[in-house]
């Protein structure tokens, strides 16, 4: 870890209501780390999309599972790593939806992962010791 890297971790349960906690956590984080205001919505969005995929698809049982979200602030980028112990699931392997389709042709699903890939600068998946690791990076330069 770089010397100037800041780190904060959020642990959430696989429950839709935890989305409120994500939003609250981000509001505090944005203030504490003085992050650019206009990046809060995109980050909140990608977290919701990634998190929704995990709670709906990663676990076959009705049990409570912990999901870890690690935030790393380096000099010029924000790195978010989501770790869950669910089934192997690589969201980056999904094909992008065809955004040129007409209303009638447009399928209802498939947008979540696509939005993650579009809003973040880098998205990387790894399976590490029975856990899914999804690493998303957003560059924080003047254009962002």
């Amino acid at each position: 870890m770089e010397e100037n890297t800041k780190r904060r971790v959020l642990v959430i349960w696989n429950d839709v209501k935890e989305l409120y906690r994500i939003t609250g956590f981000l509001e505090t984080l944005w203030e504490d780390w003085a992050l650019p205001v206009k990046t809060m919505y995109p980050i909140n969005l990608v977290l919701e999309e990634a998190f929704s995929n995990i709670i709906f698809y990663a676990f076959d049982d009705q049990d409570t599972h912990m999901i870890g979200v690690e935030f790393l602030l380096e000099t010029d980028k924000l790195v978010i790593i989501i770790k869950d112990g669910g089934k192997p699931f690589d969201p980056t392997a999904k094909e992008d939806p065809d955004t040129s389709l007409s209303v009638e042709e447009r399928p209802i699903g498939g947008l979540g992962i696509f939005l993650i890939k579009k809003m973040m600068d880098e998205v990387h998946y790894e399976r590490v010791q029975d856990k899914n690791h999804l690493t998303m990076t957003k560059y924080l330069n003047s254009e962002n």
């Binding site: 989305l19 919505y41 929704s52 939806p97 209303v103 939005l115 809003m119």
Partner: protein
């Protein structure tokens, strides 16, 4: 999220305030079923107070659009916030929805 509906014959002007996400898209979806059963021919959505939407919300919007088009009605959105507009642009939704700057142009369009 707050939903306020103003009826004007077969036209409904709906104001959505707050967030539309995985926690509440169901409520919005239930509301839309009510509008459809009231045979609304022009559904106009005031987005000026909508400050967050995720794919769950976008899915409901798409369902509304498909339904209105299939029944010969119209679905218009106006006064979209820039952050929301960006999501619509990225997902290709801007091309398939009728988006206006204000209520008047939404009514005329």
């Amino acid at each position: 999220m707050e939903i306020k509906t103003t009826m004007n014959g077969n036209e409904a002007v709906v104001t959505l305030s707050g967030r539309l996400d995985t926690t509440n898209y169901n409520d919005f979806e239930n509301q839309t079923n009510e509008w459809f059963s009231n045979r609304i021919t022009h559904l106009i959505l005031d987005c000026s107070d909508l400050n967050y939407i995720s794919s769950s919300g976008l899915r409901v919007f798409l369902t509304i659009q498909k339904r209105m088009m299939a029944t010969g009605g119209k679905f218009s959105l106006f006064a979209m916030q820039p952050g929301i507009r960006e999501i619509f642009d990225i997902s290709g939704f801007s091309a398939i929805f009728s988006i206006y700057p204000d209520l008047e142009s939404a009514r005329k369009g």
